[in-house]
């Protein structure tokens, strides 16, 4: 159902903007700050905003890698630790919290995160998570140590290994019982979903994130290309490969998801059947999934009192309801997949494969982010001449690791959600909007055309020009309007907190200091653009005044 907005957004936003960024980087041959300064001195703020967004992203994104490491290290046990609940203190039953929710959720919320009931109760740093985070940062440091040249070689591994694992999972996933249900669910378009603007917004942000637009990493990488590199062809190829990979990955995801939903549905049915058979002392095998509804009516008619006593415990099992439980958020990804994996044969193998793939993808993203931060630093002569590359990369990794310790505290996951939801989304939209407008209207689309002609020997055709000049900016502005109206309509911002006594998520309001942090995050990156213009304006004014006074 998600495919239609996804494809439309890809053609309207993804490909043109990717081409734009690659061309800018290749032409200007500098990282994001320098490149935008060349286009117009008032736009140095755009580059700085990209670097700030990349910095925020690298702060919190590596925590996902730390969690992936945690799950990976725990996959070497039999049975998997999230497959069964731990016992309570006098060994008569399972742990209370685990009983109310499933064992995979318990493993995630209690044993991985040790989450606190609300944002205010910060708790202490979890040393196990801190260790995993340090390891994740050491891995990133190892890859970026020698600069972008060595990063290029690492990316060969981090980009190709996930494909192998995805193919294995595709074969395994499609042969699972109940996978077809998930695939049918994925491909049936839901028309009421299309009219909801949130679907379009999430499609757009998904495209931005997966292509890496607006982070400055594309400009940084493209600046290392030769000037005659055919970036138009590369842009089209990259976006097509990216979208086919996304579809491929979502086929795998939905087949596994269908398996999990079918498994839960069948165990729910079995529980109901067992309950009925025990209460009414029926023969084994008389109640099956097929005749369940008829037998229920029959029992209700023949033994009305006992049935009425039993009915609060009888759940209505529905496959649709299982499939509809929304799959979003990083925590849910861990929960859903670990739940599906624990029911397969040889779960350790599949678990190791899955988390290695997740690690490769996560580290690949981290390398792009840190490259976006390091390229401006190594470009600036003030810093690069004084410190060698290794020291600069080491300093960046160390600072990020220390800040990342916040996310390993007991309330860390709530702060993670804040960063995840607000650090990048709005700022990226604004940065990309300013980029398109800058290239088309400030730099001039004719000048840009001529540059492309000198670089690749061919002028961009009407499709690209139309997209750059009109379609993409309009789409982004409409997305902005949707976001703002949505925020104004709902009023205050809320978050999902884990309630240990009930064993489920509850909605709470953000406290004051959290709202301040959110505001700071959004402001820090978006304000860079006007501030940069202001600073340049003031500098030029001062220069003009000093020139006029000396003359």
């Amino acid at each position: 159902g998600f495919l239609i907005p996804y494809f439309i957004m890809l053609i309207a936003e993804g490909m043109p903007l990717l081409y734009l960024e690659l061309a800018v980087g290749q032409r200007m041959r500098q990282g994001s700050i320098g490149a935008w300064k060349i286009i117009s001195p008032y736009l140095c703020g755009v580059g700085v905003a990209s670097v700030v967004v990349s910095f925020f992203l690298s702060m919190y994104y590596n925590v996902i890698n730390a969690w992936a490491f945690w799950y990976l290290f725990h996959s070497f046990q039999d049975p998997l630790p999230w497959a069964t609940c731990p016992l309570n203190s006098n060994r008569t039953g399972y742990d209370e919290e685990c009983e109310k929710t499933s064992s995979t959720q318990y493993f995630w919320y209690r044993q991985t995160l040790n989450i606190s009931p609300s944002l205010e109760a910060s708790g202490s740093v979890q040393w196990e998570q801190a260790l995993c985070l340090t390891l994740a940062w050491l891995v990133v440091y190892l890859c970026i140590l020698r600069g972008t040249a060595s990063t290029g070689k690492v990316v060969y591994v981090t980009a190709s290994l996930p494909y192998c694992v995805l193919i294995i999972y595709l074969i395994r996933g499609l042969t699972l019982h109940g996978a077809v249900n998930g695939l049918i669910y994925m491909f049936t378009p839901k028309l009421e979903q299309l009219s909801n603007p949130k679907a379009w917004i999430s499609a757009a942000t998904q495209i931005f994130f997966s292509l890496g637009l607006g982070f400055g990493s594309l400009i940084a990488f493209a600046s290392y290309n030769e000037s005659s590199n055919n970036c138009e062809r590369h842009a089209v190829i990259v976006s097509l490969i990216n979208s086919t990979t996304s579809i491929f990955a979502s086929i795998v995801t939905f087949s596994i998801y269908g398996f999990k939903a079918t498994f839960n549905y069948e165990s729910c049915l079995n529980k109901v059947i067992l309950l009925l058979m025990n209460t009414f002392d029926l023969e084994e095998g008389s109640l099956t999934a097929d005749n369940l509804s008829e037998m229920k009516d029959y029992l209700m008619a023949t033994h009305p009192q006992e049935y009425a006593q039993l009915s609060p415990q009888l759940k209505n099992c529905s496959l649709e309801a299982e499939l509809d439980t929304a799959v979003q958020g990083t925590g849910l990804a861990f929960i859903v997949y670990s739940e599906a994996i624990k029911n397969m044969e040889v779960p350790q193998l599949y678990s190791v494969l899955y988390f290695v793939m997740l690690l490769m993808l996560g580290i690949g993203s981290m390398l792009g982010n840190t490259a976006a931060i390091l390229t401006p630093l190594t470009d600036s002569r003030a810093i690069a001449t004084r410190f060698p590359k290794e020291v600069i990369s080491g300093a960046v990794c160390f600072i990020n690791c220390v800040i990342g310790l916040i996310f390993t505290m007991e309330a860390g996951n709530y702060w993670f959600d804040i960063f995840n939801d607000y650090a990048a989304t709005l700022s990226l939209l604004l940065i990309v909007l300013v980029e398109t407008i800058a290239v088309c209207y400030i730099y001039g689309i004719r000048r840009f055309e001529k540059d492309l002609y000198t670089m690749i020997g061919r002028k961009p055709n009407w499709y690209w020009k139309l997209m750059w000049a009109f379609a993409s900016p309009l789409l982004i502005i409409s997305l902005f309007i949707f976001y703002l109206t949505d925020y104004i309509l709902t009023g205050t911002l809320q978050y999902q907190a884990w309630d240990a006594t009930q064993g489920q998520l509850v909605t709470k309001d953000y406290p004051g200091h959290a709202l301040a942090v959110i505001g700071l995050l959004v402001a820090a990156s978006t304000m860079c653009i006007p501030l940069g213009a202001l600073v340049t304006f003031i500098r030029k004014r001062l220069k003009r005044e000093s020139v006029s006074t000396t003359a």
Partner: protein, 182 residues
């Protein structure tokens, strides 16, 4: 049903679940089944044949079953989930925990590998930089040495210059044609 009775008799007698005196006198007929339903569930009592028609107290039977639950299960090739004694909740066996958690071991291995990689790369980088510095200082030293022993004129060692022959500078050679001859 008969097989259940015989199995129960075997269990109770074989594993000394009841006191020694009763063991000899107990027979299969001492285990009575009642209330058998379609669901393969029933009640049973264990009677004591030495004293006629008295049943072994329920608490004793309960305690015996609780102690030897897994043996009973394995005799019937069933498990705690498929064979249920009402009011006797099974005490669950705790999972096996090794002395050091497994994940720490794997973590340690990976950490050592990564640290080794980092140290190797850093040392290689330092060595490369030292080599470059050494090469450039060697070149400087060589140039200094040359200057001491060989006299240099305009950077060219004097031996190379053929002071007698000289070099014709092509730029000025062509001037002869430009100037009108006298």
């Amino acid at each position: 049903m008969l097989s259940f009775a015989s199995q129960m008799h075997r269990m109770l007698s074989k594993y000394g679940l009841v006191s020694k005196q009763l063991w000899e006198i107990m027979q299969i007929s001492n285990i009575l089944l009642c209330n058998v339903t379609d669901r393969v569930s029933f009640w049973f009592v264990v009677t004591d044949s030495s004293e006629n028609v008295t049943t072994v107290p329920g608490s004793e039977v309960e305690a015996a079953i609780r102690m030897n639950r897994n043996r009973i299960n394995s005799a019937f090739l069933l498990s705690d989930k498929t064979l249920q004694f009402l009011k006797i909740t099974p005490t669950l066996s705790p999972p096996v925990e090794p002395s050091t958690p497994v994940w720490l071991i794997v973590f340690g291995v990976v950490l050592c590998l990564i640290l080794a990689g980092i140290v190797f790369l850093v040392v290689a980088g330092i060595r490369q930089r030292k080599k470059k510095n050494k090469e450039s200082t060697e070149r400087e030293n060589l140039e200094e040495k040359c200057e001491v022993t060989i006299t240099v004129e305009n950077g060219i060692p004097c031996e190379a210059l053929d002071l007698k022959a000289g070099h014709i500078n092509g730029v000025f050679a062509a001037d002869n044609e430009r100037f009108t001859s006298l």
